[in-house]
Symmetry: C2
């Protein structure tokens, strides 16, 4: 491996001078600068980031934790985060937890060991609290994405889940639906709770009863087995005329189950959901959805994180950004 000492020797200067040329610090004569640079090229020198980080006490490494790398909401978010990070010269490590707390714990260890400068964090759920406390304790700045965690204060970027759910339900009610089911994520996740809350509020507002039977709590992540959803569909009696799905994954899997029963959308059943469905939205955009600004989640969150990192220590108030929910009306709701 080529080190600054190799360069220094060959260029006839000290290692310090080489370091200064690399980092553009201090005053160096043009002559030595040119010479050092030439030797660097000749030897194919590449700075050792590890050594720099060790002495500078910062890695310029950031972490993005997402819960489902196959979900277009998160990959789009990732692009936003990556763009913002790159613009500021930071590198971004991705971690994929699969909504799994054990995997999340492993990544927390990695983050701590790696001495990442900060973390953009979509937590698996409320039980992520100890993980966040661990980051806090070790002085690693973080910004929460998409989900809050009760018990800890921090910067956070959220979608307006409650309002989103209200609008989706209203859309169905306006279509004449009165028996509306909700296929939601787990209530250990703040966004799922908010969506449930918005759903209940909207029902109340329209003098519709809340029927527990019509709500299923499942995982926001993809499942190998649809039997849980199937059983629920069988169980509901009388069956609903319309569904709200808590995210895009649940919408897709619900549609598969409905399809398997020969139920078409919207002819036989109406369906609305949170988040766009990737390519599907482009080929045949027919689902009425709350389209969240996925890219903004990542981009804005990254900016907030970088702000925290730059103002190292200077405690300022936590910022909570709620991104508005845009309703896109298409044709997955049948007028009754």
């Amino acid at each position: 491996m080529v080190t600054i000492y190799d360069i220094a020797a060959k260029a006839g200067v000290s290692a310090m001078t080489v370091s200064r040329v690399i980092n553009n610090t201090g005053r160096i004569s043009d002559k030595t600068r040119t010479k050092v640079k030439r030797v660097m090229d000749e030897l194919g020198y590449v700075p050792n980031q590890m050594a720099r980080s060790l002495v500078l006490q910062q890695t310029h490494l950031l972490f993005l934790m997402i819960t489902d790398i196959t979900n277009p909401f998160y990959t789009t978010l990732a692009r936003g985060a990556e763009d913002a990070a790159q613009k500021h010269g930071y590198r971004l490590l991705f971690g994929n937890t699969d909504e799994n707390l054990d995997k999340e714990k492993d990544y927390i260890d990695t983050i701590l060991k790696t001495r990442a400068d900060g973390v953009l964090f979509a937590p698996a759920g409320d039980a992520s609290l100890p993980h966040l406390e661990m980051l806090r304790k070790h002085g690693v700045p973080f910004v929460l994405l998409d989900r809050e965690v009760p018990g800890i204060d921090s910067d956070v970027v959220l979608g307006d889940s409650k309002e989103g759910a209200r609008r989706l339900v209203k859309q169905l009610v306006d279509g004449g639906h009165r028996r509306i089911a909700l296929l939601n994520g787990s209530r250990t996740i703040s966004s799922a709770r908010e969506r449930l809350e918005g759903y209940r509020e909207a029902l109340k507002l329209n003098d519709l009863p809340f029927d527990e039977q019509l709500v299923l709590e499942a995982s926001f992540g993809p499942r190998s087995d649809l039997s849980e959803i199937d059983a629920w569909l069988t169980r509901m009696d009388p069956p609903p005329t319309a569904f709200v799905a808590g995210n895009n994954v649940l919408a897709v899997e619900l549609m598969r189950s409905l399809r398997a029963r020969g139920l078409r959308v919207p002819e036989d059943t109406s369906l609305v959901c949170f988040d766009e469905l990737a390519s599907y939205a482009e080929i045949d955009p027919f689902l009425t959805v709350i389209a969240q600004q996925a890219y903004q989640f990542g981009h804005l969150g990254m900016q907030m994180l970088l702000d925290r990192i730059q103002s190292r220590g200077e405690a300022s108030a936590w910022r909570k950004v709620v991104l508005p929910a845009e309703l896109i009306v298409r044709r997955s709701v049948r007028q009754l």
Copy 2:
């Protein structure tokens, strides 16, 4: 920051003993081991990866370069790579190049500076050659994924693109189609070349003429503007009765263009393509496709990379794995 010296002081031993406890090396009495461990817990000690890497000369960091993080083929591949890496205690960094050589170059610099132990590399194209040479020159092992690069030997995991294209064309010919268009990726990418080659061979085999007009080379990545594809659709005269799309992204964008012209698949035009379309395939699986084993690309490639890393230096023959192409016949081809 808590260091091994803090622990050593508090436990009344030397730093070296602490190091031995951490790494489970040498002989240590159970009593001191227990004591050191207790102090480590009390102080919340976390090893500094940077310092370890510096002395051990290895980072346990691997890189995965993909060209489109929003493409389910690559995210599924990423899951495969991640699973395999994690199983062996390696961390995985993702890089997203957007099929862009400049971004790729930036990532190469990052990889070199970071002293990554190895790279899993889906290159942007043939022009990635200098980037690979740079890795080789600096002794960074890599495995190519999905695409070969002429001019450099290495381990590589490929799909059987030529055979895939042959099968897709055959499927259309069997459906009575004789005027078959190909919307392909750039010929600077080996997989696109293979697909073109397979397409031509299949035409020849069926005594169909090759008409340059029927082939468009575009980017495999998503584009903001469909005018290139639109112009092509307008230009072909007489128009084809069927299309082969070189990947899932091209298929989606082609369908959008067709849709905009009021052409339905398969009623008005037939369409087949490489790769599944994520959620779309699950909701309404109607496209006839060559389904590639995306997860295997990543998983297998990672294993090959880890093999190389473990057999540090010992030169063995390059391995080239070609994953078979499975044709899934659905209903996007109309019988003429």
